[in-house]
Symmetry: D3
Subunit: 116 residues, 6 copies
Amino acid sequence: MSTERMEEFNSERSRLNEIVMSYAGRDLKRLYHIDDAVYKDGALPAKTKEMLGYVASLVLRCDDCITYHLGKLHEMGTTSEEFEEATVIGYVVGGSITVPHMRRAFDLWDELQKAQ
Amino acid sequence: MSTERMEEFNSERSRLNEIVMSYAGRDLKRLYHIDDAVYKDGALPAKTKEMLGYVASLVLRCDDCITYHLGKLHEMGTTSEEFEEATVIGYVVGGSITVPHMRRAFDLWDELQKAQ
Amino acid sequence: MSTERMEEFNSERSRLNEIVMSYAGRDLKRLYHIDDAVYKDGALPAKTKEMLGYVASLVLRCDDCITYHLGKLHEMGTTSEEFEEATVIGYVVGGSITVPHMRRAFDLWDELQKAQ
Amino acid sequence: MSTERMEEFNSERSRLNEIVMSYAGRDLKRLYHIDDAVYKDGALPAKTKEMLGYVASLVLRCDDCITYHLGKLHEMGTTSEEFEEATVIGYVVGGSITVPHMRRAFDLWDELQKAQ
Amino acid sequence: MSTERMEEFNSERSRLNEIVMSYAGRDLKRLYHIDDAVYKDGALPAKTKEMLGYVASLVLRCDDCITYHLGKLHEMGTTSEEFEEATVIGYVVGGSITVPHMRRAFDLWDELQKAQ
Amino acid sequence: MSTERMEEFNSERSRLNEIVMSYAGRDLKRLYHIDDAVYKDGALPAKTKEMLGYVASLVLRCDDCITYHLGKLHEMGTTSEEFEEATVIGYVVGGSITVPHMRRAFDLWDELQKAQ
């Protein structure tokens, strides 16, 4: 189950993507397409790939990217233990500069857990 | 033409710069001065320089810096095709982590286009 | 003395830290503990350490981290001249991409000075 | 099986870690300890954790960190298909700025494959 | 005209790209293709695009990426004045942390100028 | 006292700076001048400023910048305890991605200590 915050995030993301697409040339459209394709099941399961995207987003400190992958991880049935362990790897690699993003990530994760 | 959002950005920026200047020593004042000077017409036209500032801001993922240079590019008559191509270079170099910033950039660009 | 903005920051920070701790395993708890310990008086005084944390946060461009260390520097009696000089080092090393964060830092510093 | 390059990397890493430890206080020793602990089997298998460490290192563009995690992934029996898919996520998230690191990563991976 | 250093760079780059391609799946091949396409003449001339790639590489501090775009700028007849002005924008935006990369860039630029 | 490695670093740095200056316009010269000025004694002692420059360089992971500030800290009589504590702050803030740079920093520090 989703929450109001998650739905607002997704709806604003869709609104903005439509604007991007109204300006996008061929290469930008292709980049969007590839960005979708690489997270599909392959030699690695989609869930592992979302986790890679989540930790990459955490160490690069992008809240919107974190929110997106966190939502996917939640939908795919990631447990809180798995989520915590992936997050700690991001914290260890990226340092305390990632902590404000990690705090907001756990806040959203908690909200999604309680909405279930 | 500008928009309400752009004017609020510029007015908040001015308010904060006044506070900075009330604390600034000689070196900080000089840095502000140089930061202005390097975007003036020279061997490269000012528009190309703003574009360099814009793409640098995009790959370093600084929304305020993006907004500032985007506003300048708009004032200088950059076309939407030129803006899109510069943006795509930023996306290619900086990766999907730049996408949330790119989305907000196109949203603001679209607003400025429609206000004309 | 503190200000309303600073108190809201600290109270939200505490709320979120409680959520983090409700999910945290042993390693995450240890990381939080070390993150506290390294800023205590040692061969270097705590104030110098907070200044190192502040400038590191400025060049890495993390507003929440800046706010936290800035608050500590204020509590420890840092003068505005010291604060300005530390900030300028961050600006010189990190470039104009740090300026929006620097502006917000001086705004908060100014507020704290006026609340005294 | 390992290769000469990988063994030289590990031996230089050990030499330097000994120097670090000869200066390290309690907190630094603890950080090294935690940095080891978080990659052990838990709710997530060690192999997934190394993959998270690898992709985080790729998007943050640290060759030594990439080499370390790549070596672990190889030891743990990661297939070339899995390795390629994880790498592509890093490329997509981090952009073409990661490509020189990715090239060196595949070069080392190829060397390890051929040494088997 | 090129120089020995530039030729060695290009030949090592080709050797590594062949290894990458021997492992690459469809998405990785597409990313390589797009990375080429976005620098072609369009609404913006190819030279401006290489300059955007160069400054993006400078502020993200990637020596190999700098070398590549710098070589292209040289081939396209960029003057030393234009090169200096683009570089200074990178320095201003990215700060003194870019200086070691800038030093190596001017060293290579100087070598290419003298080889003409 | 210095070491051969430190002297080679300084001599290569000087050689490259001369090349930079042979191309530099007014703004680039001014930036070099300011970059020198901000580390002089002021409200904060020069040693504290070098330490801020060192930790900023560590979290931004620039080996040349680390080497430069580390050399200055050594000349100014920084103790190994002070150096270790400053370094640990960099590690805590910047994460394990800084470790390869930290290892090389301690290696150089150790060499300078033994040369005394």
